[in-house]
Amino acid sequence: MKSAVIVFPGSNRDRDTADALELVSGKRPAMVWHADSELPDVDLVVVPGGFSYGDYLRCGAMASQSAIMKEIKAHADKGGLVLGICNGFQVLTESHLLPGALMRNAGLKFVSRPVTLTVEETQLSFTRKYGKGQHVSFPAAHGEGNYYADTETLDRLEGEGRVVFRYAPGDNPNGSVRDIAGVMSEKHNVMGLMPHPECVVDPLLGPPDGLPLFQSLVEALS
């Protein structure tokens, strides 16, 4: 699996994401600066977590205008895989690669704690190593993770099996509509989620619930 991790000014989960990718694939991902206008030849692009451009204007709004985003859109248009985690999810919604928007947490507080998620879809490149309905625990660390889309969009997402992760009942940390934690593009090749699977890939840090996500990608791309 050949992968790239995009680095924006203010990204802070880029190196952990690269470590997770290297752990499962044995290959160090290319680290691509946001101002670059070319992507290396890769199967997977990851837009990592952090606070790109200091969250100015709206989270992910500035990053969505970066030079590299044109290349990421072209990669996605060709069916290439794109994963956005936390700020990366915000960047992908601001870029219209994923539907909906991520708003200020309903409780107005930054949330930093493990959350339990239900894996809703397991036929995908991103989640095939999980069981359907499986509960996993990923750390959440965000102030603006409150997923919103209009009712028509939500119904379509659910009808098309594009809600990939939901917060487990009673564990919605941010007021996301219908407990949505992660969604997928129409062509099933772009996924974004708020909690951090890349933080839980080493048993030293607790149950490695994030590992199957990265292993799914390796298997899908082999």
């Binding site: 204007l57 601001e94 928007a101 708003m103 409780g107 107005l108």
Partner: protein, 80 residues
């Protein structure tokens, strides 16, 4: 030419900050305050002198960057 852009959440989109402001005002004794919605104001200076062209340009700016039209609406005010 100067312009002011108002960006607010669309009707029906939950505004927790507006709610918190409303609660705080009620707590201060401003009992007449009902729903509160908050937003952003952006002031811009433009070299464009034609009002119609400036407005069209500002609209494009709002659609492309200043507002996220999934959740926000915008109003443009020109000041000559």
């Amino acid at each position: 030419m100067k312009a002011r852009v108002f960006i607010t959440l669309k009707n029906g989109v939950l505004d927790p900050q507006g709610k918190a402001i409303g609660h705080a005002l009620n707590g201060l004794g401003f009992g007449s305050v009902g729903e509160v919605r908050q937003g952003k104001v952006i002031d811009l200076e433009l070299s464009e002198t034609d009002a119609a062209k400036a407005k069209a340009e500002l609209k494009a700016m709002c659609e492309k960057l200043l507002a996220n039209t999934v959740i926000e609406k915008y109003e443009i005010e020109l000041k000559s």
